[in-house]
Every structure is written in structure tokens, then in C-alpha cells.
């Protein structure tokens, strides 16, 4: 009797959970839940494959089932600790990305779309991380559902599967913010709401909303619903996969390119700003975001620079078509989307170097775009300027951090 009492006292706050004998593991729990989402995505793609009458239904459905069973087992078989420590939050994020990449690769390999599992894994990782590099020699000719899954990996990876998990997973009290911070693509994990779960939900609401808007806009330009959805998913996530061998050049339409330019830009804008827009904040308030201003200024300057380079290159390109190519490529590069309408390896070296610099910089913090993020670059430049200014005026005080729009 006394032994039990001692144990109760020592186990402190956990006493009310003593009946739950499942092992405590934040990692397994989060991985399991993420696999459930993967399964859902696979199931939808399987249905599309079935409707389109293509022959990779079994790989998609089979992987969906496998992923669902595995995920259910991991999720239901474990429970989350009361406090998720930072190292285990990092571990959970790491294992989640490994697990979904492996599961995502399975149908690509099983269906014979890619000959080896290595290739399939490359494609899957490239998809979930929003990289957009592909080892697929011929994209067209594969099943509609299979290709849609390839696009969906980018969409799921773009906003971050972990954000989705945090948004939906119950019982993740204190650990949620740690998880979000561990995955967060930018230097700032803005809180859109006092509760982490609400923040994650709002992020996904904006993400889904933007995706639907892009689908609608692409439908207006005359794309089929399938093409519109497939490209909206890889545009908002700034991923860059396409269902066509020639990428966006396959449409050969200025309207599609215009829509995609706007959409890639939207995907590379801090989602906290979109939340402000939803709440009805006017353009003047948005203009206070130094990062947004820098983003727009750099984009315009880069487009102008590349347009001039292409126009005076001697290839006899008209100014308008030089502008069209420059604008699309610059926005696709800086947002780290990577869609292509032209082969910029043939451009003048200075243009290629500008693209390289934009690639390294990337879009805004808290967006789906990759790379360093403008915010960091701004802080770095401001820091370097301050150090130089200190040499000129040793006693001056100056701040490093550019103004960020308040998000609370």
C-alpha cells in the first residue's frame, strides 16, 4: 500500500494517466499522424487514377493502405509526453520527413514509373522538399493519378506536413510550438494566434485558400481542371513540378504565365501577411513590411536587368517577349519554384549570375519558398552596414533589425 503511494507521489503530475500503458513517444506519434495524411493524399490520387482509367491504381491504393495501417498503428499505439523536449521535436520532424519521403517513393517505384527505388526516393524527396529536380525522363505518358501524386508531394511538403499535424493532432499541448519551430522554414515562426494549434490551422486555411484561388484563375485562362489543380499545387508550394515534359512552356500562353507569376509571388510572400490581408489590413499597412518592400524592389530590379540583357543580347528578341521571359524566369527563380519557359543556360553569364543570386536569397521568411529568405539577407546586410558605420562614427548607436510587420 505504502509502495503504491510512494510511486504515486513520485510520478507527480502523471498520476491521472497511469491507466494508459502505451509507450510514450512523441516521435512515433507524430510520424504516425503524418503517415495518415500521406495515406489520404494517396487515396485521392488513386481515385483520380481509377477515374482516368490508367493502370497504376493498385500501387497507389496499396501504398495508401500500407501508409494508413502503419500510421494508425504508430499513432494509436503511442502517446505524446506532457512536454515535448526540443531535441525530440527535432527528431520527430526529421523522422517524419524520412518516413513520408519513403512512403511517397513507393508508388513511383511500384508502378514502374521509375526503374529503381533510388530514383523514386530522389523524386519523392525532391517533391516533398519543394526542390523540383526530377529524374523522370518522360513525364507525359504516365498515369494521371500517379502524376497528380507527384504534384501532391510538393503541395504537402510546401506548407509543411508538421504544420498540418500540429493543426489537427490533439493532445500536443506544449510540444506544438517546439515542433513548429523545429520545422519552420523561416527565421521567424510568427504566431498568428495565441495558441499554436490555431496558428497552424490559420496557416493551412491560407494555404488551401490560395491554392483554390490559383485553381480558379487557371481555369479562367482555359486550363483543364486537372491541369489547373496539378499546377496550382506546385505553384503555391513554390515546388515547380509539372505534368508536362516542357513544363509551363507546354501551355504557350501568356495568360497562364501571368497567373503563375502572380501565384508564385503569392507563395513566396510571408503567410502572416496574407493573414493580415484576410483580416482586412490595407495596402499601406502591408507597405510597412520592409521585407515585402525589398522583395518587390528586388524582383522589379532583377526583371528590368534581365530584360535589358536579353534585349541587347543581339538575338533580336523584341522587348515585350524579353520582358515576358525575364519576368517569368526571375519570379520562378526567386520564389524558388523553378518552373521553366526558356533554357536560361543559354543566357548571358551576367543574367545567369543574377538568377543564381536570387536563388540563394529566395522569397520571404514564413513563406513556402526555400533558400536563405530575404529577411536573413536584410539582417545580414544591415549588420555589415552597421559594422562599417561604426568605424566612421565609433560612438553611434544603430539597430540591425529591419522593421517587421507586427503579426499579433
Amino acid at each position: 500500500m505504502s509502495a503504491v503511494a510512494t510511486r504515486r507521489r513520485s510520478s507527480g503530475a502523471q498520476t491521472f494517466e497511469t491507466r494508459d500503458r502505451r509507450p510514450v513517444s512523441a516521435v512515433a506519434n507524430v510520424v504516425g499522424f503524418a503517415l495518415l495524411f500521406t495515406a489520404a493524399g494517396l487515396a485521392v490520387c488513386g481515385a483520380v487514377e481509377l477515374l482516368a482509367g490508367d493502370d497504376a491504381v493498385a500501387p497507389l491504393a496499396g501504398t495508401a493502405l500500407l501508409s494508413a495501417v502503419l500510421g494508425m498503428g504508430l499513432w494509436k499505439g503511442t502517446r505524446v509526453p506532457n512536454r515535448v523536449s526540443t531535441p525530440s521535436a527535432f527528431a520527430a520532424v526529421g523522422w517524419t520527413w524520412i518516413a513520408i519521403s519513403a512512403v511517397g517513393a513507393l508508388p513511383l517505384w511500384w508502378s514502374g514509373m521509375l526503374p529503381t527505388f533510388d530514383d523514386a526516393l530522389f523524386e519523392s524527396v525532391s517533391g516533398f522538399t519543394g526542390t523540383g529536380a526530377t529524374v523522370l525522363a518522360a513525364i507525359e505518358g504516365n498515369g494521371a493519378g500517379l502524376l497528380l501524386w507527384r504534384q501532391a508531394t510538393q503541395w504537402l511538403g510546401g506548407m509543411g506536413v508538421i504544420v498540418l499535424v500540429v493543426a489537427v493532432l490533439p493532445l500536443l499541448g506544449v510540444g506544438g510550438f517546439e515542433l513548429l519551430r523545429a520545422e519552420s522554414p523561416g527565421p521567424t515562426s510568427d504566431r498568428l494566434a495565441p495558441r499554436v494549434r490555431d496558428t497552424a490551422r490559420r496557416l493551412w486555411i491560407i494555404y488551401v485558400g490560395l491554392t483554390l484561388l490559383i485553381v480558379a484563375a487557371l481555369l479562367v485562362t482555359g486550363l483543364s481542371p486537372y491541369d489547373a489543380l496539378a499546377h496550382a499545387m506546385t505553384t503555391v508550394s513554390t515546388g515547380g513540378f509539372s505534368t508536362y515534359d516542357a513544363s509551363i512552356a507546354a501551355f504557350d500562353s501568356a495568360a497562364v504565365e501571368a497567373v503563375l507569376i502572380a501565384s508564385m509571388f503569392a507563395g513566396a510572400v510571408n503567410f502572416a501577411l496574407w493573414w493580415q490581408v484576410l483580416r482586412g489590413v490595407g495596402p499601406r499597412a502591408l507597405g510597412q513590411s520592409a521585407e515585402l518592400r525589398a522583395f518587390v524592389v528586388i524582383l522589379v530590379a532583377a526583371v528590368a536587368f534581365v530584360t535589358v540583357l536579353l534585349a541587347v543580347d543581339g538575338s533580336g528578341l523584341a522587348l515585350v517577349s524579353a520582358l515576358r521571359r525575364a519576368a517569368f524566369t526571375v519570379v520562378a527563380t526567386m520564389s524558388t519554384t523553378g518552373y521553366a519557359t526558356v533554357d536560361f543556360a543559354l543566357w548571358p553569364a551576367a543574367g545567369q549570375l543574377v538568377l543564381l543570386a536570387l536563388m540563394v536569397s529566395g522569397g520571404m521568411a514564413g513563406s513556402t519558398s526555400g533558400a536563405m529568405k530575404l529577411f536573413r539577407i536584410q539582417v545580414m546586410v544591415s549588420h555589415a552596414r552597421r559594422e562599417l558605420r561604426r568605424l566612421l562614427h565609433p560612438s553611434a548607436a544603430s539597430s540591425t533589425v529591419p522593421t517587421i510587420i507586427s503579426t499579433t
Binding site: P348, A349, L353, H383, A384, L388, L391, L392
Partner: protein, 493 residues
């Protein structure tokens, strides 16, 4: 009292001494180019002497005016060098004369001189002397003057403790300058002796020692070191380059037989490790099928020493190596030599501190409340100093990026522009593409458009002066704020 005049006087007198020596050589060489060299020597000695006489030694000065003076001094050196080339008829375009003079004084191994072997000996000596003087000036400026102003943050060679003001004639700075000068002289004399022993003629031994110890990289022959086709000379050159990239204070300590500073220097360990690891990798990557030969090993070690010390001598034509090996060389040059050495680049100590900084930031991600200090050897790096280093690194990277775009705009090919910008900032010289080394020098670089060469030369100045004197000095000169202490204005919001 004028800081700029004080610095300029010494720069001119140093130039004059070199030009006088070149005139003597010209006399022995049958009088070729004697007139212009002697005239240049007389002019710069006279002007320098006048300035020396009329400019009092400043007692206390501001950072900004020191920077401005340093910049003025360097511009003067480059001007004298270019004027001498033009007077001797070495170049017929001002552009090329300025580029050759700039890469000379910044100890960069990019030469636009064609038919080197046809040139009079006086001119060749002067060309090597620019590199020798440039290396010395860089050491003195960066090590003796700037750290005491809180610039650069090379803790091992920090001289003064007051960060805002200094007395140029303070005993500590004068002693530091003397120590560095004697270390440099000892190295140079040793270099000459070793080259003589390895079988060079006296003239070649002196000039090659000057361009090797200063980590400059010019040569008197079209094939540079390749001309001698001698393994012994190549090994001596490799050793000389390594020494040129070593902290002169440590060199002097070694000469005096004191081992403790050597043992204690973490930077020396890292510098040595970098060279050994790079050499081992290159030996492995460049070995011909059938295993490494003496030639391949020697060429690999030579290239590693040349890159880490940012000298730029090349043997065996590393343009034929794999791109991985070539990129490694350019990156090593970017990391650079030790602090307090004539070599350039980002400097080993800064690279190490920044790695410690990265390590700390990763640890902080995992344990947000932990307190971790960044250490350089056994000393803790001050946070303000760390901020300076990060700022310097950012400025360095931005400048490299901007430089690459400018080079590309001026007509350099893509690999050339990217590696050339890094190589120039590191005062190395060779790179990939248009800056690929041939047998000794950079055969394609001389044919580049003038704008590209000027941009390259500007980058070498920025790298040699460690950026801040260039920026702060230019701002100070342009805004005229370099005059002596002025009451700080209160800026109203």
C-alpha cells in the same frame, strides 16, 4: 600635421628605394630603361622626402582618417607603379599599366604583361618589388594599425587596447611594426638564400624570393616557376609560399628559437592542417592511373601551398585537373592565410571563429537557454568582435557576388566570373574558365576586355585592404570628414 601625408611620405620613399635599386640593375643591364627608372626614383624620393619633412607625425587620430590615409597611400603606390610602367614603355595603354601595378601591389598573381622575358631587368625587378612592398604594406596596415582601431578583429596580433584613438608613435605600435618588418626581412633573405642553393641565378633568386615571400606570384619568365623545370626549385617555392602565409610574429619567434608561441598557436595548427589535408586530397585526386608519381605529388603539394597562402604560383597546369580539385583550390584561397601574414584571403583565424559561431548557433537551437561562448584557441571571442567578423564576412560575400556579376557583364565567362571574384578578393590570382592558369601564368586573362581587368583589379584592392579601409576611407575622402577631431553633431529625430 596630416595623417595622409605621413603615410604618403613613407609610401613614396619605399617606392623610391625600390626604383633606385631597379635603376642600379638597369645600369648593370646595359642601361635599358635606365632613364625612366632613375627619373621615377628621383621624383618619388624627392616628393617623399619633402612630405616626410613637412608632415608632422600625428599624435592622435580617428579611425576614419587612418582609413582615408591608408586608402590614399595605396592609391599613391598604384599610381607610382603605373606611371613607372608607362614611362618605361612596358605598356602602351594606361588601363593595362594600372592593372599590372594594382595586381602587383595587392600581391595577386594576375599579370597582363606579354613577352615577360624580353623586358629589361630593371622593369622586372620593379615588378617583383611592387609585390614585395605590397605584401609588407598590407602586413603593416592590417596588423599594426587597423586592429588597434577595432578593425579586422585578429586577436593574435592586437596591439593597442584603446579602440577609438591611437598614437601612431606609441612604443607598442612602433615595436610591433619593427618586429613585423624584421620578420619579413628575415624571411626574404632566407628565401633568396634557398633559391640560390636550389640553383637559381642571383637576379632570379632575388625577384622570385620577393614574389614568393610576399605571396604575390609574379614570375620573370613566361612559364614562371615552370621555366626552371627543377623539382628542387619547386619544393623551395612551395616552402616559401607556406612561410609567406605564416604569421610573421611566429616566424620571428621561430628564428629566435622560441618554440612556445608556435606550439600555442591554434591558428598555426589549423593553417598547417589545411595545407596537409588539401595536399593529401589533391595528391589523391590528381594521381595518374598507376599511382602517384613524384611529379604528381609535388604538383599537388605546390598547388595546395599556393592556394592556402594565396600566392598564385602554378606549376604543372592545374587547369587540366578535375573541376572538384580546381574549385577546392579557389575555396582554399578564399579561406586564405594566417593573420599577420602577407597572404590574403578571409584568414584562417576568422574562418575558425566563424565555424565556432555556427556550432554555437546550432547548439542554441537544441538548447535555447544554454550559454555557449565562441573560442579562438583558449581565449573567448568578445561578442562585439564576433559581430565585426560576421559583418566582415557578409561584406566579403556580397562583394564577391557583386564582383562576379560585374566581371560577367564585362565579358568574362561564367566559371571565370564566379571563381575570379573570389580569387581576386583573396589576392590569389588564378581561377577557372577565363582565369584558368596555363603553364605558369593566366594565358587567357591578358586578352580579357579592359573593363573586366579593371573590375578584377578593384576587387584585389578591396580584398587586400580587408574592405573596410576602402569603404570607410572612400566615404571619408569624398565627404571630407577626414579632418581632425570634430565635435560630434547631435542628430535630431
Amino acid at each position: 600635421v596630416s595623417t595622409a601625408g605621413y603615410v604618403a611620405a613613407r609610401a613614396l620613399v619605399a617606392c623610391g628605394a625600390g626604383l633606385a635599386a631597379a635603376s642600379v640593375l638597369a645600369l648593370l643591364d646595359g642601361g635599358r630603361a635606365l632613364g625612366p627608372l632613375a627619373a621615377a626614383a628621383a621624383l618619388s624620393l624627392a616628393l617623399g622626402g619633402l612630405l616626410w619633412w613637412c608632415c608632422a607625425v600625428p599624435v592622435s587620430l580617428r579611425t576614419a582618417s587612418v582609413h582615408a590615409a591608408v586608402l590614399t597611400g595605396w592609391m599613391l603606390l598604384i599610381g607610382v607603379g603605373a606611371a613607372t610602367y608607362l614611362a618605361c614603355g612596358t605598356f602602351d595603354s594606361i588601363n593595362r599599366a594600372v592593372v599590372e601595378s594594382t595586381t602587383g601591389f595587392t600581391t595577386t598573381a594576375l599579370s597582363v604583361l606579354a613577352d615577360i622575358e624580353e623586358q629589361p631587368r630593371g622593369v622586372l625587378f620593379w615588378r617583383a618589388y611592387t609585390q614585395w612592398l605590397g605584401g609588407l604594406a598590407a602586413v603593416l596596415v592590417v596588423v599594426a594599425v587597423l586592429p588597434s582601431l577595432g578593425v579586422g578583429g585578429l586577436e593574435e596580433s592586437t596591439v593597442g587596447s584603446d579602440r577609438r584613438r591611437l598614437a601612431l608613435r606609441s612604443p607598442r605600435i612602433a615595436a610591433a611594426a619593427r618586429r613585423l618588418l624584421s620578420g619579413y626581412l628575415v624571411l626574404s633573405v632566407a628565401g633568396v638564400a634557398l633559391f640560390l642553393l636550389a640553383g637559381m641565378g642571383p637576379f632570379d633568386a632575388v625577384t622570385y624570393a620577393m614574389t614568393t615571400i610576399s605571396t604575390g606570384g609574379f614570375g620573370n619568365h613566361d612559364g614562371s616557376i615552370n621555366f626552371f623545370d627543377s623539382a628542387r626549385i619547386e619544393w623551395v617555392t612551395a616552402g616559401g609560399m607556406v612561410l609567406g602565409g605564416t604569421n610573421l610574429v611566429l616566424v620571428l619567434a621561430a628564428v629566435r628559437g622560441r618554440v612556445t608561441p608556435l606550439r600555442r598557436s591554434f591558428e598555426l595548427r589549423a593553417y598547417g592542417t589545411a595545407i596537409v589535408v588539401a595536399a593529401a586530397l589533391l595528391v589523391w585526386w590528381t594521381a595518374p592511373s598507376g599511382g602517384p608519381t613524384h611529379d604528381s605529388v609535388r604538383h599537388a603539394v605546390f598547388a595546395a601551398a599556393s592556394a592556402v597562402s594565396t600566392t598564385g604560383h602554378t606549376v604543372g597546369g592545374w587547369a587540366g585537373w578535375s573541376s572538384g580539385a580546381q574549385v577546392l583550390l579557389v575555396l582554399l584561397a578564399g579561406m586564405g592565410a594566417m593573420s599577420g601574414a602577407a597572404g590574403g584571403g578571409f584568414r584562417v583565424v576568422r574562418a575558425m571563429v566563424l565555424m565556432g559561431f555556427v556550432r554555437r548557433e546550432i547548439l542554441r537551437q537544441l538548447r535555447p537557454r544554454s550559454v555557449v561562448v565562441v573560442k579562438a584557441g583558449r581565449t573567448t571571442v568578445d561578442e562585439a568582435l564576433l559581430g565585426q567578423m560576421v559583418g566582415y564576412q557578409v561584406a566579403w560575400l556580397l562583394l564577391a557576388g557583386a564582383g562576379a556579376v560585374v566581371l560577367a557583364l564585362a565579358g568574362v565567362d561564367l566559371p571565370g566570373a564566379m571563381t575570379g571574384a573570389v580569387s581576386a578578393l583573396a589576392t590569389f590570382g588564378p581561377g577557372l574558365g577565363d582565369f584558368a592558369p596555363g603553364a605558369g601564368e593566366l594565358p587567357r586573362a591578358g586578352e580579357l576586355p579592359g573593363a573586366a581587368l579593371l573590375a578584377y583589379a578593384a576587387l584585389t584592392v578591396a580584398g587586400r585592404l580587408e574592405i573596410s579601409p576602402l569603404v570607410v576611407g572612400a566615404v571619408t575622402i569624398l565627404t571630407g570628414s577626414g579632418r581632425e577631431p570634430r565635435r560630434a553633431r547631435v542628430r535630431r529625430p
